[in-house]
């Protein structure tokens, strides 16, 4: 098996085949085991590698996107222990033992997650770059609503139930920017899944 230095990998000077990349023996590397989409990956990583770069460059999970790389766009949103986070501003080594879910872990082409299906149904995207982040974010957002989390636009902070108005939904999804402006479709897609959930689990 050939091996690559971190410089080569950061330059993109390696084949991208959707497989964990073997690394040259390097004293700066740390062993890290990551649990992503229910697979455990044993990796050797430099501590400075972000979770986002690890997913994309080392695990071949390119569904998660890099937009700004500074926390401002939401394209890199993934779920860690069920909570949404931005994978560009966290180090992979900080996530040993955590349960990480990316867009690839939510559904499969022949068995889409309800939100994936709803995004297609409602034209929740144009170029699709923000979509994996939007969907991961929406999955967690609906869970937060279910557990009664408040938002900045919530009228009554003492209320334990959320009235998910359009204003509430916009505020709660504001961490995900869509450069194409597909917001109307995004909102409709999420609302449909929310309403389905309200009616109880789908048969």
């Amino acid at each position: 098996m050939s091996s690559y230095s971190i410089e080569q990998i950061l330059r993109g000077d390696v084949p991208r085949v959707g497989q964990p990349q073997p690394l040259a023996a390097d004293p700066h590397l740390m062993p890290v085991s990551l649990r992503v989409n229910n697979h455990v990956y044993m990796l050797q990583l430099e501590p400075r590698v972000s979770l986002l770069d690890t997913l994309r460059e080392f695990l071949g999970l390119t569904g998660t996107k890099k937009g700004c790389n500074q926390g401002a766009c939401g394209a890199c949103t993934v779920l860690v222990n069920g909570e949404r986070i931005k994978s560009c501003l966290t180090l992979a080594v900080m996530h040993e033992g955590h349960d990480i879910t990316t867009i690839e872990g939510l559904g499969q082409p022949n068995q889409l997650h309800p939100l994936q299906a709803a995004f297609i149904e409602h034209d929740g995207f144009q170029c699709g770059y923000c979509t994996p982040g939007q969907i991961c974010s929406a999955v967690a957002m609906l869970r937060e609503v279910e557990q009664g989390d408040a938002s900045f636009v919530s009228e009554d902070l003492t209320a334990t139930e959320v009235n998910l108005t359009d204003e509430e939904m916009r505020e709660r999804m504001s961490g995900n920017i869509c450069r194409c402006g597909a917001y109307v479709g995004i909102m409709n897609a999420i609302r449909e899944v929310y309403e389905q959930q309200q009616k109880g689990p789908r048969i």
Partner: protein, 330 residues
């Protein structure tokens, strides 16, 4: 980004020992500020000590009625804790107004206190900046300074502290609990952050080798009547241009007690003591609110692009007081 060694601390002593022995070591919480600044080469630690495993993630009531917010508790969990939502709505709102849901799930309470300014020149390593590199000058003085401070500035630095959470903490007289190599100490929030003076490179009075373990909110029953208002360039996911945290206790339309703090106007959360003095004991009227706001902003100095903040700060103070009064009378 400079390479660094990474260690995970499982207790406070180990974490502190690591930074005592290395002036270039840094703690990491959520990483949302530190990773960003490391990527820009503004922060260049040789060692990063992960404190997420320390047992400081709880939110609990103390026997004296204070609420202790663990240093490693996430901003989202803190905002949604039932006791914070009911007793300190001003803090819940300040937290919920900040950043985005994903970032709030990452950001720790300690990291939030220590986040650094968003001054563009601080981030730009090609620009002179006294905060990043003492003695090089301040690019914002004659540069683009729309985000910058109007109160407590110095010729060395006119940066603002960007945190929303700390503005609410200032109004609530929170106490920061700290542990260092020589034991523990408590820092009132008013003494935690600094004005720039001649040492803008120092944001706070925390030592390099000190670890934040908790933030205590003293019991303050009238804080149930409190709010956080934030004015920004878009209605969500943006830093404050100006913000205000307000807490009001009225009795028969007379102000018994009031707490006001401003954000986006200074190098630290700005407690409006002058305004509070004028308001306390007086009947709650729009004229009084305006007079108090005028007095607080009397020493404000605007720069080329941020002079609008002076009037904005006055209006947002009046708005906060009016809203709180109307709610009490409703």
């Amino acid at each position: 980004m400079r390479g660094f060694t990474y260690t995970r601390a499982s207790d406070a002593d180990t974490a502190i020992r690591a930074v005592v022995h290395n002036a270039e070591a840094k703690f990491i919480g959520g990483g949302t500020n530190l990773v960003d600044l490391m990527r820009e080469n503004v922060e260049r630690p040789s060692e990063v000590v992960d404190v997420n495993g320390l047992p400081f993630a709880q939110i609990e009531e103390l026997p004296n009625g204070s609420l202790r917010l663990g240093a490693m508790a996430r901003n989202s969990h803190t905002a949604n804790h039932p006791l914070v939502r009911v007793r300190y709505p001003v803090l819940a709102q300040a937290l919920l107004s900040a950043a985005s849901p994903q970032l709030r799930n990452m950001a720790t309470n300690a990291g939030n206190l220590l986040q650094r300014t968003r001054c563009y020149y601080f981030y730009d390593t090609t620009a002179p900046c006294n905060k990043r590199q003492p003695g090089t000058g301040c690019s914002a003085l004659a540069g683009y300074n729309r985000l910058h401070a109007i109160l407590g500035t110095s010729p060395q630095c006119i940066a603002t502290h960007p945190s929303d959470m700390t503005v609410a903490l200032a109004a609530l007289d929170a106490i920061v609990q700290v542990q260092g190599p020589n034991g523990q100490r408590s820092l009132p929030i008013a003494d935690f952050h600094r004005l720039p003076g001649d040492t803008p490179e120092r944001d706070t009075n925390l030592g390099h080798d000190e670890l934040i373990t908790a933030i205590d909110l003293p019991a303050l029953p009238f804080a149930r009547h409190s709010l956080y208002l934030k004015v920004r360039d878009r209605p969500s996911f943006a830093f404050a241009l100006v913000s205000v945290a307000g807490v009001l206790k009225l009795s028969d339309n007379r102000i018994q007690e009031v707490r006001l703090a401003l954000g986006g106007v200074a190098h630290k959360p700005w407690r409006a003591h002058k305004a509070e003095e004028i308001l306390t004991g007086a009947p709650a009227t729009p004229e009084l609110f305006r007079r108090a706001a005028e007095a607080e902003l009397q020493t404000a100095v605007g720069f080329e692009h941020n002079a609008f903040k002076i009037e904005l700060a006055k209006r947002i103070m009046v708005r906060a007081l009016t809203t709180l009064t109307e709610r009490r009378l409703a």
